[in-house]
């Protein structure tokens, strides 16, 4: 056999060296944890061309985002130029992580709970100094207590909040009018909802053509946790780095049983397979459901509904109703290539842009005045104000641990799925979730 210029050993060595180099490149640089300089200083840190990343939320909301970027560019003409890119949610976090891995993080990106892992790795900029220079730190204008969950080190904000979301009971006014039943309000209990759901349900033979109730977002862990909150307990001791889960509290199993019974024992709400069929018919927006507890982010899509609809505060469970809330906003990598521009954009959306956000009706502004403004209420359902009235005493509906995705995906979701399919008792579900989540904590 003739000798070749490259031996197999050389080739393998080269490939290994190449792989080692590739792996060596997988190391985002770390830097100090001191606050990022505020954008009000005369010095501009980084580029003036800013690229903003968000996940796509449908045409209407994406268009509003684009318009806001245009408005920002107009206001900061000659100083900063921003553009926005949208990614599908299922690719969004992968792309962000890949950018970090390549040492080229995005200039800024829209927050979701996955970004907490980025904070844990020391990759996010401390934005407190920037916030302190703006009206965003004014307690008379903003619900500052609600921002606390984003103070991951208990002192500094690592995200700039700009909007807020919660839950409410959505209802189809046409169904209520047809049945001659008064609309739900803040006094309604879940017992009243169940009773009314029965009256609103319509059948054709054995087939239900209109469901009085759907479990809606009570089918998600944070939705069902609102019942546990009302009963005086919670799934874990604190949302930020919990030290223990407390799903073994009997009140949690009781909340699980309540939701399971809605679908199985009482059957006033469709079971999972029936829900799938309903969803194909459009769900609440399709007019086949009379009442559904859900997130306020549904408001934009419900605006397209043919039937009239409205919203009411979450019904009372064991005499109490506790609202969840979630913050929407921006995080900025420490190594952002356009740090000042990113801070400026985020603060601009959280302050000057709030009135337009209210008028757009896509997000609920975090600024008190904008959220309660006529522009916000105009075109919104009548019950919006009442539904959002308790927002300042709401509880954060997130779980902040670096492996929260794994806990939710491997433990919470499959066990709740078994519960909702009536394959598992509420007690077993609570016990398995407690055991599985504790093992991963």
């Amino acid at each position: 056999m003739s000798s070749s210029p490259f031996s197999r050993r050389t080739l393998l060595g080269g490939a290994l060296a190449g792989s080692a180099l590739a792996l060596a490149g997988c190391s985002p640089s770390s830097s100090s944890t001191s606050p990022a300089p505020a954008p009000t200083s005369t010095e501009v840190i980084g580029k003036t061309d800013l690229t903003v990343y968000a996940w796509t939320n449908g045409t209407a909301i994406d268009q509003n985002f684009k318009k806001s970027v245009e408005a920002f560019n107009k206001e900061y003409a000659g100083k900063f130029t921003a553009k926005i890119n949208f990614l599908p949610y299922d690719q969004y976090w992968q792309k962000i992580q890949l950018q970090y891995a390549a040492n080229q993080p995005f200039d800024m990106y829209y927050w979701d709970v996955q970004a907490y892992a980025h904070y844990k790795k020391g990759l996010l900029a401390n934005l407190q100094a920037a916030v302190d220079t703006s009206e965003l730190s004014d307690a008379s204008k903003y619900p500052l207590d609600l921002f606390k969950p984003w103070k991951f080190d208990d002192a500094n904000l690592y995200g700039i909040p700009e909007n807020i979301q919660s839950m409410a009971l959505f209802y189809n006014k046409a169904h209520f009018d047809a049945a001659g039943i008064a609309y739900p309000d803040a006094t309604w209990t879940w017992d009243k909802v169940i009773e009314t759901a029965g009256a609103l349900t319509k059948k054709s033979g054995n087939k239900v053509t209109q469901w009085g109730l759907d479990i809606g977002d009570l089918g998600v862990w944070w939705g069902i946790q609102t019942l546990a909150w009302s009963a005086g307990t919670a799934f874990f001791d604190k949302p930020l780095e919990p030290t223990k889960f407390q799903l073994d509290d009997p009140k949690v199993a009781e909340a699980f049983a309540f939701v399971q019974d809605l679908m199985w024992a009482k059957h006033v709400a469709p079971r999972p397979d029936e829900r799938d069929a309903n969803n194909q018919a459009g769900g609440f927006a399709g007019g086949v459901i009379s009442m559904a507890p859900g997130g306020t982010w549904n408001i934009t899509s419900y605006q397209q509904m043919k039937d009239g609809w409205d919203m009411a505060p979450l019904p009372l469970y064991q005499g109490k109703s506790v609202m969840p809330y979630w913050l929407g906003g921006w995080v900025i990598p420490k190594e952002s290539a356009a740090l000042t521009a990113a801070e400026t954009f985020a603060l601009w959306r959280a302050t000057k842009f709030q009135d337009q956000m209210a008028a757009d009706h896509d997000w609920i502004p975090v600024q008190n005045a904008a959220r309660e403004s006529d522009a916000m209420l105009k075109g919104m359902p009548d019950g919006f104000k009442a539904a959002m009235a308790g927002i300042t005493s709401a509880q954060i509906g997130d779980l902040y641990t670096s492996n929260s995705q794994k806990i939710l995906d491997q433990v919470f979701s499959p066990n709740l799925d078994q519960l909702f399919r009536n394959k598992q008792t509420p007690q077993d579900t609570a016990a398995k979730m407690q055991q599985g989540a504790t093992a991963l904590l």
Binding site: G18, A22, C26, L98, A117, D409, Q410, P414, R421, K423
Partner: protein, 315 residues
């Protein structure tokens, strides 16, 4: 004479030199033309494979540098209930889908090998599912499997049967996926069809002379003569069954539900890598899947002399 000999030797040496120079140039051009392909394989296949093998011995979340953990990821696999569950799910799926696809492919290929009117249409129709992308197919099957409005339960309803939740009932979900997998037998069928057309007609005539009926002709002529095609389909089927991803991902929204009963290994690998960001652990899973594929393929190859009819063995 001596002068002639020297001249002849000199000419031969010159020819050799010329040949040698020509051979070198040819070799050089050969390498030049091969270089893009070899570089491509090294950069995009061998390099990433080696990188993933090295990564499988690290803890790596893409946000910080990989940290060497030795064989921990591999030992962790043995105690990971979800990995063991997904391994069981995958092997069950493969045991059903691989023989199912081959049997369906063979039977339909035999039927389509007959000289019938519009046979071209039927061949295209049966091959069509193979051409359509996995995601589109999965969306269609999701509608068919819908327990309330899906076609299957509508048909069962005509006979008074309350059909199951095909994708939501733990007892049915994996079988539903497997059925859908078998439905994609078009590729296997096409290869069998090509093999069938290579079987000499004389063999069937001889079998007829010996008194063989239609069924016996297939048992004693078709199947042995197609054994090399079966061997190929078996190897490719095993590899394919261990890599199924798009269909379970779409049909279960990437969850592997209900109760992880459809959590095929590629789906679990994806979740570990891109949802939990445990790249090192995901790389270890990938290498274990590779090892399983390698072992199963090697076993099939070892069994080759026992059941595969080849020209060489006949000689």
């Amino acid at each position: 004479m001596a002068t002639t000999h020297v001249a002849a030797r000199s000419a031969a040496t010159g020819r050799k030199r010329r040949r040698s120079g020509l051979a070198r140039r040819e070799a050089l051009w050969c390498y030049v033309f091969m270089a893009p392909a070899i570089l491509g394989v090294l950069l995009f296949s061998v390099g990433p494979m080696i990188a993933s093998f090295v990564l499988s011995f690290t803890s790596y979340d893409m946000l910080s540098s990989p940290e060497w953990v030795g064989p921990k990821n591999y030992t962790k696999l043995a105690a990971d209930p979800l990995f063991l569950k997904s391994l069981q799910v995958t092997l069950t799926y493969a045991v059903v889908v691989v023989p199912g696809t081959m049997l369906m492919g063979l039977v339909v290929a035999i039927l389509l090998n007959a000289k019938l009117p519009a046979i071209g249409f039927f061949r295209s129709a049966y091959y069509l599912p193979t051409v359509i992308g996995g995601v589109a197919v999965a969306r269609v099957w999701a509608m068919l499997y819908n327990p309330e409005v899906g076609l299957f339960n509508q048909i069962l309803g005509l006979f008074g049967i309350d059909g199951p939740g095909w994708l939501t009932d733990e007892r049915w979900a994996l079988w539903s996926l497997a059925f859908m997998g078998v439905w994609g037998f078009g590729g296997t069928m096409l290869i069998y069809l090509a093999g069938l057309q290579g079987i000499p007609k004389e063999l069937y005539e001889a079998a007829e002379v010996d008194g063989a009926g239609g069924f016996r002709k297939h048992i004693f002529v078709t199947i042995p003569m197609l054994s090399n095609v079966t061997f190929f389909n078996l190897v490719m089927g095993i590899i394919g069954a261990l890599q199924v991803f798009a269909e379970p991902f779409v049909l279960t929204q990437g969850t592997g539900r209900p109760n992880n009963s459809t959590l095929l290994l590629p789906l679990y690998l994806y979740k570990v890598a891109f949802e939990y960001l445990e790249m090192g652990y995901a790389a270890a899973i990938a290498w274990v899947v590779f090892a399983i594929t390698l072992v199963l393929t090697a076993l099939v190859f070892r069994s080759l002399p026992l059941w595969v009819h080849t020209e060489v063995s006949d000689n």
